[in-house]
């Protein structure tokens, strides 16, 4: 079954581009992606651009409204995701804990709905 791992962190809490730590951080993401691929768990995964690039859309009374900014202003922001194919929650949690951001941010793990028909 598929689990999505939503990667949340405060923007300033992670290594910044240009620092020595950033290189190592990116490498650890590379290593994680390689591992989930090799283990046959990887379905998809992406990093997202910052919430300053977000636009929120809603339709009310047939009228489309757009808002500059994310849906919710929170300290910790959604920065990316992995969609993994795991046998149960234990396995999914085990992989989620290996995502490099888990060390300073949080990973929300949720199963994907399987429609019956």
């Amino acid at each position: 079954m598929q689990f999505i791992c939503l990667i949340y962190s405060a923007p300033n809490s992670e290594p910044q581009p240009g620092t020595h730590e950033f290189g190592a951080y990116m490498q650890s993401y590379g290593a994680f992606t390689e591992k989930v691929r090799a283990d046959g768990k990887f379905v998809s995964g992406d990093a997202l651009q910052g919430t300053e690039t977000a636009t929120t859309v809603s339709v009310r009374g047939g009228k489309t409204e757009t808002m500059d900014g994310p849906f919710a202003e929170t300290k910790e922001q959604l920065g990316g995701y992995y969609l993994l194919d795991c046998k149960d929650i234990d396995e999914a949690l085990e992989y989620a804990a290996m995502i490099p951001t888990a060390a300073h941010g949080r990973i929300e793990v949720r199963p994907v709905v399987v429609w019956d028909n």
């Binding site: 149960d88 929650i89 234990d90 999914a92 793990v109 199963p111 019956d116």
Partner: protein, 419 residues
């Protein structure tokens, strides 16, 4: 034909004693907690009429399992996704050929350990772990659990059904964790059992019966886990700890429900059978040399329980045990209890110095037990004004009515001494 009263009692007794075992077996074969619970309820209803007509079966528990499985087949057939469930149904038919209502419960593999690890899975909130353990392993009704935790039955019902949905949705497995994960997962199970015990222990047994039942239930469940994991010394340690604490139950409250400190308890009212059992479990467990916090706390309790009077207490032994405990569990509560042991084993001044040092950066300033302990030390060296001031702070920080009443009584005593 059985008289209805006997019948109902037998059903109650079977359900009460075997609920967890029956349910665990059903969950294992059905793979779904809610379905298993619903089918077991169906089977209990059907037992009422069948047993009245045909008399009691050889093994009521095995009968309930067999009938609950048939109910499951019915439910799955009636369900929307009949085609998708073909595999489950034929699996259940196979099972049915292997078991029958003439079997004994002992013939059915005990799956309660698997189930308790599911109920205490870290993906569930602590309060949910507690409620789910009481419901599925203990067989307590949702209403009873709600009453014990001062929730409405509706709220508790929602909490339990949310949890069961989550277990199914994220596939929380029914299995005993691998050796590698076992210590951490087991410590969650033990914490849940201890929380249940304490919930029953810290409440007044007089005014609210369901609460002391919680302690009994915690002991019963810990006994089961201890039987299923005989090599885990901390499970035995927790069981011993519960028994050694529970032995003092009736001696620790006045008839009006107010608390009596260990020092003033009537030791003749302590339960000898429980003390003997607790001590004998410890005697078997400690030599295995895999010491943990529950075993040490049990050992401390055992020293108290075996001491003929407060004055005869072996404080050197207790302090040595607290030293070990503080090494592996340096928490504020252990620190304060250790300081109290120091006050008896060495001197009150030493204990006060220790507490002062511990609160060097004011991190215990919101900790009720810190002030209660200091007040006790101050009043023992007749510094009643300081004691009274600490008691007032302590009362302000306390969240429990009984505890507040206990501290108020001490405060009055102090104020009498100063005037």
């Amino acid at each position: 034909m059985l008289p209805p009263l006997t019948l109902e009692r037998t059903i109650d007794k079977t359900v009460r004693e075997e609920w967890g075992r029956i349910l665990a077996s059903l969950v294992k074969s059905l793979g779904d907690l809610q379905l298993a619970e619903d089918c077991l309820q169906d089977a209990i209803v059907s037992a009422m009429s069948h047993w009245r007509k045909n008399g009691l079966p050889n093994s009521p528990a095995a009968w309930l399992i067999t009938v609950a499985r048939r109910k499951a087949i019915d439910r799955l057939r009636k369900g929307q996704s009949f085609a998708a469930k073909q595999n489950e149904i034929s699996y259940l038919f196979d099972l049915e050929n292997e078991t029958n209502d003439e079997m004994d419960i002992g013939d059915i593999p005990d799956k309660r350990l698997e189930l308790i690890f599911t109920c205490c899975h870290p993906a569930l909130e602590e309060k949910t772990q507690v409620a789910l353990t009481l419901r599925t392993l203990g067989g307590l009704s949702t209403e009873d659990i709600a009453r014990a935790y001062l929730d409405s039955a509706d709220t508790m019902q929602r909490r339990l059904s949310r949890a069961k949905k989550k277990i199914a949705a994220v596939k929380i497995p029914y299995r005993v964790p691998d050796q590698e994960d076992l210590p951490e997962r087991l410590s969650t199970v033990l914490r849940v059992l201890y929380l249940i015990f304490n919930e029953g222990y810290s409440a007044s047994s007089g005014e609210c019966l369901t609460r002391s039942d919680l302690s009994e239930e915690a002991i019963r469940l810990t006994r089961i886990v201890s039987r299923l994991l005989p090599n885990e010394t901390e499970v035995a340690g927790l069981l011993a700890l519960m028994l050694l604490h529970d032995a003092r139950r009736t001696a620790r409250t006045n008839p009006d429900g107010s608390m009596i400190a260990l020092e003033h308890q009537n030791r003749a009212r302590w339960n000898n059978a429980k003390i003997t059992e607790g001590v004998s479990i410890l005697t078997d467990t400690l030599p295995k040399r895999r010491i943990g916090p529950y075993q040490l706390q049990a050992a401390i309790s055992a020293v108290h329980d075996q001491s003929p009077s407060w004055d005869d207490t072996d404080w050197q032994e207790i302090l040595a045990l607290y030293d070990l405990l503080y090494e592996i569990q340096p928490s504020p509560v252990v620190l304060i209890n250790r300081a109290m042991a120091v006050s008896y084993a060495r001197s009150i001044d030493d204990a006060l110095t220790l507490l002062d040092q511990a609160n060097g950066d004011g991190e215990l300033d919101t900790y009720q037990h810190y002030f209660a302990a200091r007040a006790d030390l101050f009043s023992r060296i007749e510094k009643f004004e300081q004691a009274a001031s600490d008691l007032k702070t302590s009362i302000g920080l306390s969240k429990n009515d009984q505890e507040r009443a206990f501290l108020h009584a001490k405060l009055e005593q102090c104020q009498k001494n100063t005037s």
